[in-house]
Symmetry: C2
């Protein structure tokens, strides 16, 4: 059998799930009520397919460490598979991403390699049905089809594209799928309803199964310019450890979808029915659907007091929320931003994000907790001439050897052990011990232990911006060339 | 002219203004949109009356320091008047409070002293009209009447008691007020409407003007038991500095209102019209009324994004709030609790507070920032075995000399200068310096400077409760006897 490689496409800001999903922490990283995020669920889904030895993830290079951290938590449960990454300098829609994946895997395993493309911001709730559908798609891909997965519409959704099925495709007396008659872009409500009434239409899920060589051939036929440019770009990638970092020129490739670039023009498109409890969690209502409702239809995460509230979705993990006499609201509370929206308008949350962007408010992009290769930091408080952070360093991780011109730092270890380089001195600081780093002193923070190191940092100085940092040495490649 | 003393009655939890108003920080301390709180406004109102040399405040002893701090900010603008306090061990309704004030002022200035009783949780927007009404009330009190202030009803409110006016009281050809025909307890809507239709009814504001001796006489006539018990209780008060602290036995006095105890049975009741822009800020709607509305009728404090929102009241001073497609909501955000309520149900906020009390949730009573005689502390973060506080010490103030059995403390000064006693050592710590207090070491923190001292305290230990404190010496009388 041909080599079979799941390709997880991870990206997209998910602005409709603000304020939990933000540019620095997009939808694939959104923790679901069961404690796992969509990216981890995608990995587990991919790993559950038989004969999968390796999984490729295409993501932005800014999310590389955060993605590895997320996978690490899953891998320990699911057994190790080879993980490989394609890192984009900037998101470039699905055609360049899938083409790059096909090119990379053709290089490694030959043109007959079959790719299963899985967007990381989707949820599949019926795993056996998913595996059965993948099996059918695999057979069709083997036979040379470019296979999409079509979701049987539950309602006349206007937020998805539709696929009209054509001639049935069988093998050994059983239906595998259908040829695609045509793709339809997001319809209006009347048209969507007519598709439901007519039958034979399904939602375009964005999942694909295809042979690398055939996909690249079709790309060359229908998008010759993109195809040629891609070869150029990929030959300049920087290969290191488990990833191929695509060069800055990747950002010049056309920003087009795989549907538009290949699936619509090709004669080889097929569709397999994907009735496996699919959802793209495209709104807070969809998120609420993952939560059990109480007798009044309220779906709640966190400590909430409900006084005559009905049909509300509440996510408030760090603060008490009290509702009185309200109905059909979405209330999402985060440490630095609160959303209160009418439930049936939740598709418009992106308008809020656009307005925040216009105002230059950092909550459109950043969370108060910021992920770094070595762990996280959370700003607890800022004031004139001081800033307080909680810093978490993963076991074995280290911050860069660095220096600040304008601020000094007090460090107090509240959990774990820190190895500190402070000027010429190097020493261990244990729980409940502290040290002081004067401005202008090169210093480094390392967690030499096997449990998380948690530290409180109190910064003091006339300028406390994150850009007052001189990095001398960094194991995550963040020193200037 | 008789001595004239404004008496500010400060107390009451103001549960309808949760989560901003709480037991530890009740309605009189609520900061209004103009930056001043109701208590400060009450003081300024009292101080604006001609010939006022002294002002008495009756409050709970827990609010003594917080009250003085609030007044200090006003005094600097308004010129100094003698301030005196009656401190209750527990709130006991208006009859015991006003009786205690009358008794105390009769002791000091004789029975002819005129008291002007002002509840501290009310707002008066037309000061000249207020002063004119007080002048009339003063004349009537002088003549022996127990005078109430009646507010001309703007609508058939069911939340207030009503006063029916009787025979007109004149002096030198002009109307001073009326005798009171009767007091009516909170009516239902139909009855309230009938009062409006009939005319001659006003809202009972809870403000009074009366002569100490006459009030105490009437109290003895109509509440002989309370009158006798009061004398007993007051003789055991502890007089110190500028206050008389009432003994614990005060809590055994009957919990009755002055209306019920004296005003209703007496033949000396009079009412003066109080058309001076009175409000008791009894709900979030009333609070919203103090804010300018935008074109969509939204009344907002803080950084708020409004996307098609109408008629909402939003108070979010520390976090961004985004509203989408909602109308007529009250949204009040605080560091540890959020309220989202339908505006026309805002009288029911007290139900939320009752539920929190039932659950034992501390947000019904405490704010994250806690007031102490020496300043404030704010818990920034709590975790296993650590707690981080921001501590603000007022100029010249000092914490008690204390010791903890189970926790050590790191102190970092971020603003101002600290004088620190740490075991046998005493030294100054300046901005950006730190010190360490091991568990079991007696220590003390003093602000010797003239600006606020702001410190970050990182506590570490196996038990971090506020009750792990041994006080050796305290200038605020908090050491065990």
């Amino acid at each position: 059998m041909n080599t079979f490689i799941p390709v997880i496409l991870s990206g997209g800001a998910g602005t409709r799930l603000w304020p939990l999903s933000r540019q620095s922490h997009p939808k694939p990283f959104l923790t679901l009520p069961d404690g796992e995020n969509l990216l981890q669920k995608s990995l587990r889904r991919a790993a559950a397919i038989p004969d999968v030895q390796e999984i490729l993830t295409v993501t932005n290079r800014d999310y590389y460490f955060q993605t590895r951290d997320a996978y690490d938590a899953v891998d320990s449960r699911e057994g190790h598979r080879q993980l490989r990454y394609l890192l984009e300098p900037t998101g470039r829609n699905t055609a360049p991403a899938i083409a790059a994946a096909a090119w990379e895997l053709q290089e490694s395993f030959g043109p007959d390699t079959i790719l299963l493309v899985l967007p990381a911001d989707q949820l599949v709730q019926d795993l056996p049905a998913f595996l059965a559908a993948v099996e059918k798609a695999r057979e069709l891909a083997q036979a040379g089809y470019l296979v999409t997965f079509g979701i049987t519409p539950g309602w006349p959704e206007t937020g998805y594209g539709y696929i009209e099925a054509g001639e049935v495709l069988m093998a050994e007396g059983s239906v595998l799928g259908h040829r695609v008659r045509r793709f339809v872009e997001k319809p209006d409500l009347a048209r969507a309803q007519s598709f439901l009434d007519a039958g034979g239409y399904s939602w375009n899920s964005g999942m694909f199964c295809l042979r690398a060589g055939i996909f690249l051939e079709e790309l060359a036929n229908h998008q010759p310019a993109l195809s040629r440019a891609l070869g150029q770009v990929l030959s300049h990638g920087r290969r290191q450890d488990d990833y191929l970092e695509l060069p800055q020129s990747f950002a010049q490739l056309p920003d087009i979808s795989v549907d538009y670039a290949v699936m619509e023009p090709t004669q080889r498109a097929a569709v397999v029915a994907g009735d496996f409890g699919w959802s793209d969690i495209g709104s807070w209502s969809a998120f609420g659907g993952l939560l059990e409702a109480d007798a009044q239809g309220n779906q709640v995460v966190g400590e909430v007091v409900l006084e005559d509230a009905q049909g509300c979705i509440v996510h408030s993990s760090e603060r008490l929320a009290a509702l009185l006499g309200v109905e059909d609201l979405v209330i999402i509370d985060t440490p630095d931003a609160l959303l209160v929206a009418r439930k049936d308008r939740d598709q418009e949350v992106k308008k809020i994000v656009a307005e925040l962007k216009r105002r230059g408010h950092e909550s459109h992009a950043l969370h108060r907790t910021v992920h770094r290769p070595w762990g996280t930091y959370t700003v607890l408080e800022e004031g004139p001439r001081f800033k307080i952070k909680r810093i978490l360093v993963k076991p074995g991780a280290a911050l860069s050897l660095q220096m600040h011109h304008h601020r000094s730092e007090h460090w107090i270890v509240v959990s774990g052990t820190a190895k500190i380089v402070n000027g010429d001195e190097e020493r261990l600081i244990r729980t409940n011990e502290s040290t002081y780093i004067p401005a202008g002193t090169p210093h480094r923070l390392i967690n030499p232990g096997v449990i998380d190191l948690v530290m409180i940092e109190v910064q003091s100085g006339e300028y406390l911006g994150e850009d007052d940092i001189v990095r001398f040495e960094d194991r995550y490649g963040r020193t200037p060339a």
